[in-house]
């Protein structure tokens, strides 16, 4: 079962990268594409964690959770704080 779960986690990881890249190419919106990418990577990480709970996998899963949280909290702020075009008179 461990091999199947590990293989599935790699498949979902690849799917995450593809979805993130295609999503960004289609919408040019960094926040939504990265959020989708990280959610799918998280799914892959959780699957991997159930197959292998060594300290390195645990550290990687914790890092993904932390990065995902930081991106979701701070990326919209960064986008909203970008100055828009000057108003025309």
């Amino acid at each position: 079962m461990t091999e199947v779960v590990t293989l599935t986690s790699w498949l979902i990881g690849g799917l995450a990268v593809a979805v993130g890249a295609v999503g960004f190419a289609a919408t040019h919106d960094v926040r939504s594409s990265v959020a989708l990418l990280l959610d799918l990577l998280l799914a892959a990480g959780l699957l991997r964690l159930s197959a292998d709970s060594s300290w390195s996998v645990l550290g990687a899963a914790a890092a993904i959770v932390a990065i995902r949280r930081l991106v979701i909290v701070y990326l919209p702020v960064a986008r909203e704080s970008t100055p828009g075009p000057m108003p025309t008179r």
Binding site: I12, R31, L46, L49, S50, V65
Partner: protein
């Protein structure tokens, strides 16, 4: 009860809990896999609209499945503590359970916030039906 009987019942308990852990963990993995596949199909359906707002329902679907899968995985962690043999195993279980519990909390909060955004409310958690009282 003799020493031999206690040994046998401990062995049976260990085998039973092991089987349950595998079953519950597999259920969690299947739920997470189904969620990822469904999210991918939903993504392909909304992609032609080229609207980033359309990705929110995709993330909501995936988030719900992840939260459910996490519940199964937490249940298997709790079961595993019944037979964890060493302090290192217990330490790993504690870290895994902490990561999963924190993630479950954040996922539930994000799902709630994004549902409110989809309904047109504010991200702070107020639904659009909650209007200011008349003065």
């Amino acid at each position: 009860m003799t020493h031999l009987q206690v040994g046998w019942s401990e062995e049976w308990l260990r085998v039973g809990v092991d089987a349950l852990v595998i079953l519950v963990e597999a259920a969690g993995a299947v739920v997470i896999f189904i969620g990822a596949v469904l999210a991918a199909f939903q993504f392909l359906r909304v992609l032609p609209r080229r609207d980033p707002e359309q990705f929110v329902p995709v993330r909501l679907t995936l988030g719900r499945f992840l939260a459910l899968g996490l519940e199964f995985q937490l249940a298997s962690d709790i079961l595993r503590t019944a037979i964890a043999p060493s302090y290192e195993e217990l330490g790993k279980l504690a870290v895994v359970a902490t990561i999963r519990t924190a993630l479950n909390y954040f996922l539930a909060r994000e799902i709630r916030e994004e549902q409110n955004q989809l309904q047109g409310g504010s991200p702070s958690g107020r639904s659009p039906s909650e209007k200011d009282p008349p003065r």
